[in-house]
Symmetry: C2
Subunit: 273 residues, 2 copies
């Protein structure tokens, strides 16, 4: 399934000691490759470097990594490159003083084999029971501490649902199991603030930018769960899927997604069957 792996880790023994494995002490990026181009690569690398600053992960050669991804994208043509960066090996317990070299891994996966109708007709979603914990210190980052997402995804595995909506303890919507959420109410678009929990997706930023360019009102704010029940339109975004309109949430069905359609056209996301 994996066609390519590249890393500055040279041995099984070294990776066994890596802090990514021991503590989830690192970050990742999932980059779509289309026609040999790594999509939104600058944005991915920018998010990664900002998160490294926040986690105080040092010694990452971003330029080298970016060049390697660009080269590998050409060979990949169509697929996904996953980049993992960790603080590296070493340190006694949680302490980090003697670590100077971050680790990185680049893995090539095929594009996921999703049903084309998820883009064309929309997906079915439900609310997950799992409540996301508030941790402002880690909020927004695509870090390697992802047990909440793993547990939330279990709630929809082997079900009719493709994604699950996740709320925080104040019952504000935050995100979906592996995507960001946008809702449309009276031609205004809203997406949750991610300053207490959730992952701030690269595609989320891109969609916000496109909405601004198209002079559609977009607001980033706290969204109570009730608001999604009244939405005229709901759509999900991430780097690999681009945009999925929502066809079914709870008992409500949607068959028109004008804002999602406009964005998919604008972002050149092919949604024809």
């Amino acid at each position: 399934m994996i066609k390519y792996q590249s890393s500055n880790i040279n041995s099984l023994s070294q990776l066994t000691l890596d802090r990514g494995l021991h503590y989830g002490d690192g970050l990742f990026e999932t980059i779509a490759i289309h026609s040999g181009i790594a999509q939104l690569l600058n944005e991915h690398i920018t998010r990664l470097s900002e998160s490294c600053l926040r986690l105080k992960i040092e010694g990452v050669d971003f330029l080298k990594i970016q060049k390697e991804i660009e080269q590998q994208a050409k060979i990949t043509d169509e697929g996904v490159l996953k980049l993992i960066v960790t603080r590296g090996s070493g340190g006694r317990g949680y302490s980090t003083p003697d670590i100077v070299n971050a680790s990185y891994m680049i893995l090539q996966y095929p594009l996921p084999n999703y049903n084309r109708k998820f883009w064309n007709k929309g997906v079915a979603i439900k609310k997950c029971e799992l409540v996301l914990a508030n941790q402002p210190l880690l909020a927004g980052m695509k870090h390697l501490n992802r047990l909440e997402n793993v547990m939330a995804k279990m709630e929809i595995e082997n079900s009719e649902y493709q994604e699950g909506i996740l709320c925080d303890s104040t019952q504000n919507i935050i995100e979906a199991t592996s995507s960001n959420v946008f809702i449309v109410l009276n031609n205004n678009v809203f997406t949750p603030k991610l300053d207490k929990c959730g992952v701030s997706g690269v595609m989320r930023d891109e969609v916000i930018k496109k909405l601004h360019e198209n002079r559609i009102n977009i607001e980033v704010l706290n969204i109570p769960f009730e608001d999604i029940l009244n939405a005229d339109e709901i759509f999900l975004t991430n780097s690999v899927i681009g945009i999925w309109p929502v066809a079914k949430f709870n008992e409500r069905m949607y068959s028109n997604f004008p804002i999602a359609r406009m964005l998919m056209t604008s972002l050149k996301i092919n949604y024809d069957v």
Copy 2:
């Protein structure tokens, strides 16, 4: 530094795909080895198996792992064995459906070279600024999502402090950066409930048991931070250190630790210089 590694992972390529690395989707145990005996091994394996049930991690051969640790303990004589168990390799994204074989790794470290006075005279601690997030679904487990501990430990690195006190968002005490906390007030002992966050240490359970055996009143409850300021005695526990009395917290100094001393004697923890 590492003298021994054992695992059911056979290649760098396999470990690169492990969910322990990608999502922190696993657990660990840190087991002290003294005189060739793995201390509290049954308790460690019990906690691990209970946590595997909670995380729905399947296919762990606990009996085989326990036997291997017992054998390696004999050769180690004095040291630490760290056991990591993960959900294994595979699954698309966060999903877990096709995974049947958990991964495990056993790593041997020397005993940490702590100053003997930490046991004899006590340690200095301070309150960390980091606030632990409430996630009841993961609370109590020694899982691999440990970024909070890494970030908290940074607050005391290169300082006079050996450990930091961590509170939750309601300003209840939860634990220390890599240990559990006990406080003594009027000959009653209190330790925080860990049903919303924190790690429920094997040594914490052992200390609670010893207090019961010695007919000292011990209560597990929510402890507001203010209570630690008035404590007659504070001590920290984990599997490797056993018990550290606290000599200094904020501006308060402690030189007598009668309960900690009694427990150290009872648990055969050598605190003589």
